[in-house]
Amino acid sequence: MNDLDDLYREIILDHYKNPRNQGVLEGPTVHAEEGFNPLCGDEVKVYVQVEDGVVHDIKITGQGCSISRSSASLMSQAVKGQSLDEVKATVSRFKRMIAVEETEDEPEPVDLRVIGELAALQGVVKFPVRIKCATLAWNTLMLALDEESHSV
């Protein structure tokens, strides 16, 4: 049962039971995007408020499994206050950690001190079907930010 304990370590269960940054945002600087996982019916809506190239605020609504909800919650914590470039770097680091983003070269090891609490999601690597759950909010965030970059 070690793999499973890895997957459901305390941080994930905590963020699942008490998700951070829940709710909606409104206003002219807010961009919202919806994401679906057609496989399991999970839904997420990500609201980002970007001011002066910085994610000023982020809120999340939706329903889903412990992996998709905790991942969204952890993501919201990680990117809040980051510049758009920093957000991109965080997303890339996260995706490399769960082996979604492949590089030609030997992938550089993920520095767990940099990635912080997000490291809790590392166990997902062993459960390929769940990677889609873990990346749902992240892909949705990137879509919302694309919208932001188009509107500037």
Partner: protein, 416 residues
């Protein structure tokens, strides 16, 4: 004890399915996902193997002996399937398809384009699988007819209060014989009788029902029935549409190509005879041979014995779940086992079905988690997903016990 009887009857049968011994040699294996796809007995696998080793050629083309042998094997499977479901004309009324989904697409496109116009109404139910919803919606985009839906109640039973008024408006009724989520057995014989009184053609989705219950299309009264092989011990890649010969005669061709024509000129084609006019291209021949063997196997066990076994196991599972999990579990669909088949969708309190399935997998318990290709039904239930355990002839009470043990573990993990 119902459970003991189940074990004694079927412990022998389980040995006919090589996958169990194969996987159980290295890890626990409790397969509770037969509503998605069943496992196969060795006789089905061996039959396909033998076909490829000794009898393969293309069908309906060569005049040499081997081609005739292959054609004979393929056509024998057609006749056997026809007899299995009580078709009055097995030679002409069975069209082989890729699966039940293709069978439904075939009847929607083939019959829908003949019977429906912009003013028409098609009556479906809110518990249909996407396979009996989306094909109608695709045709609706082309023709512009209206689709109505029969709702279901809190028990998962169809609400039929205004059935006659709805049938009065309708040209076609599409209904599943058994819900793949709720397990509900719909009163199809009664629905067909009422539909016919209004001149409505009845299209049945038999994907879940036919593998588990003795099926007689004349008793059911439907005009068309979609079936799939892989849920009834047969290979993947083969299904069938049964329809009354006079319906098939009316239907337009759907897939075009070789095999389905009697003549092709540069300015057009003449379609072949039924059922061949709906079987374009080289058909799934080895799969038909495998299905034939699967039907033999099911007949040997007896469909009534299978239905009884499913019901005993469903009863045992519902009781165990309630006794050991009480209000921590909610079982969807009819609570009366005589109104349902061996499919149990459930919700474990505050644990997402995906997480349930993940923990169960660690115990070797295979269940389905998700929307089960029935998103409108999920919305009606007010959930995004459910977990679903389903039973077949090779399951016994050990599978159920493992399921409930694992559910308790999952609950503990998320609430502990």
């Amino acid at each position: 004890m119902a459970g003991v009887e189940i074990t004694e009857q079927l412990s022998e049968l389980r040995k006919d399915f090589p996958i169990f011994a194969d996987i159980e040699a290295t890890r626990p294996f409790y397969y509770l996902d037969s509503a998605a796809s069943s496992q196969r007995p060795a006789v089905v696998i061996d039959t396909m193997n033998r076909y490829y080793r000794h009898s393969h050629a293309n069908v309906h083309r060569g005049v040499y002996g081997l081609a005739e042998e292959a054609t004979g094997i393929y056509e024998a499977a057609r006749r056997h399937l026809g007899r299995f479901i009580g078709a009055s004309d097995p030679v002409h009324e069975i069209v082989f398809t890729k699966n039940a989904t293709e069978a439904l697409n075939l009847v929607v496109q083939g019959l829908g384009r003949v019977l429906l116009t912009a003013d028409s109404h098609v009556l479906l139910t809110e518990m249909e699988h996407h396979a009996n919803l989306v094909p109608w919606m695709i045709l609706q985009e082309q023709l512009g007819f209206t689709i109505e839906y029969l709702p279901f109640d809190a028990e998962g039973l169809l609400v039929l209060d205004d059935l006659d008024a709805r049938l009065e408006r309708a040209s076609i009724l599409g209904v599943t014989l058994m819900s793949n989520v709720l397990g509900t057995l719909n009163p199809v014989a009664m629905l067909s009788e009422r539909a016919h009184a209004h001149g409505v053609v009845v299209v049945g989705d038999g994907a879940q029902f036919v593998p588990h219950f003795a099926t007689d299309v004349r008793e059911l009264g439907v005009d068309c029935l979609a079936i799939t092989g892989h849920k009834m011990l047969a290979p993947t890649g083969i299904g069938a549409l049964w329809a009354k010969a006079e319906i098939l005669e009316q239907m337009l061709p759907f897939l075009g190509g070789g095999e389905m024509i009697s003549d092709v000129r540069l300015d057009g084609f003449t379609a072949g005879e039924i059922p061949h006019k709906f079987e374009a291209g080289t058909p799934p021949i080895a799969e038909a041979a495998g299905w034939d063997a699967a039907l033999d196997y099911l007949e040997m066990v007896g469909m009534d014995a299978i239905s009884r076994h499913d019901r005993q196991l469903t009863t045992y599972a519902m009781r165990q779940m309630r006794e050991r999990l009480d209000d921590r579990i909610k079982i969807f669909g009819p609570q009366d086992v005589t109104k349902r088949g061996g499919v149990l969708s459930f919700e474990l309190a505050d644990v997402h079905p995906h997480d349930v399935a993940q923990v169960l997998d660690q115990h070797g318990v295979c269940v389905r988690a998700g929307h089960h290709c029935a998103k409108p039904l999920m919305r009606e239930l007010g959930v995004g997903a459910t977990a679903r355990a389903s039973f077949y002839l090779y399951n016994d009470e050990h599978d159920v016990d493992a399921l409930v043990d694992a559910l308790l573990d999952a609950y503990q993990l998320f609430h502990g």
